[in-house]
């Protein structure tokens, strides 16, 4: 029952996304200028830095197996992509990362053409998640995705350039070691 409700809500969210895409006013540069965060990697307990341009994505696609269903799904996702950029840092202490750098990325996303699809603010937990899409003017196709997620001990910036299918991307949940939401076994949040 609750699962159905959640699925419905997420479907609603995707519908809202499509509506937002359709009404987007102008084109934005889907490629963000993400700071290098060179010094942070040394401070962080874990860091993920991914920089894949079009050529590297094509190279990666050649090494995705056609027989493996997971690889086939990934191949489908990256078909229209021109770049994937990820910066993610995890720290041992709270808010050890520079807020100014994150603010500079947020500022780029305030330019016309970028549409904020999701904004999550959990003041109590100190969690903020924003999902933005950039759209091709005159069409309802996304040509860029940006995610900025900051938690007390982790911040992540994701920038995907190219045609993106959010639904397919979300279907990857569970395929990369992320457990699928099992609502029945989780305690209800208040």
């Amino acid at each position: 029952m609750i699962r159905d409700l959640r699925v419905t809500l997420f479907a609603l969210l995707l519908a809202i996304v499509s509506g937002a895409i359709a009404s987007a006013p102008a084109s934005a540069n889907p490629l963000l200028q993400i700071p290098e965060f060179e010094g942070l990697a040394a401070k962080a307990s874990e860091s993920v830095t991914v920089t894949l341009d079009s050529a590297l994505l094509q190279m990666a696609a050649r090494f995705l197996s056609a027989d493996d269903p997971e690889d086939a799904e990934v191949r489908k996702i990256i078909q229209g992509l021109q770049g994937v950029y990820v910066r993610s840092f995890t720290f041992d202490s709270d808010f050890a990362y520079p807020q100014a750098d994150i603010a500079s990325v947020r500022k780029q996303l305030s330019s016309p053409g970028w549409q904020r699809l999701v904004e999550v603010r959990k003041r109590k937990e100190g969690t903020e998640v924003d999902v933005y899409v950039s759209v091709v003017p005159g069409s309802n196709k996304a040509n860029g995705l940006a995610i900025i997620a900051s938690e007390p001990r982790q911040f992540t910036i994701v920038n995907i350039v190219g045609a993106i299918d959010l639904d397919t991307l979300h279907k990857l949940e569970g395929d990369f070691g992320i457990p699928k939401l099992d609502i029945e076994s989780k305690p209800e949040r208040r």
């Binding site: 809500l9 090494f63 990934v74 999550v120 003041r123 969690t127 995610i147 994701v158 991307l169 949040r189």
Partner: protein, 121 residues
């Protein structure tokens, strides 16, 4: 008897002039032989060609080996880059999926305290 034999021998062995034509023929033949000798390549002169041929063969063989080695190195490098790119891509998608999931959870189950702070546009 012995005088007759002696006369016979003497007349038989007397010097005879070969004539102008014979002399010309002999001289012409000598000249032809010399010409032929000049035209024939000396044995010593052919050695550099043999050396050149050997060097060219060795160079070609070395080039072929180097080309194969270079191709293999290049192919191996590309394979390693491709596999690294694949790993990076999977990691990037994992992080993306994780953060979308975080957003999904935030939208789906806003707590009462966070209700005022959480929105989806």
């Amino acid at each position: 008897m012995s005088r007759d034999l002696e006369d016979l021998l003497r007349s038989g062995l007397r010097p005879v002039d070969p004539g102008e034509a014979f002399t010309r023929q002999v001289l012409a033949r000598v000249e032809r032989e010399r010409e032929r000798e000049r035209e024939r390549p000396p044995i010593v002169a052919s050695r550099p060609r043999v050396h050149l041929f050997r060097w060219v063969s060795a160079a070609l063989a070395a080039s072929a080996v180097l080309a194969v080695v270079f191709y293999n190195i290049q192919e191996r490098r590309e394979q390693m880059q491709g596999l690294a790119a694949r790993e990076q891509l999977l990691e990037a998608l994992r992080v993306t999926s994780e953060k979308l999931d975080l957003a999904y959870q935030g939208v789906q189950t806003p707590s009462r305290e966070d209700d005022e702070d959480s929105h989806d546009s």
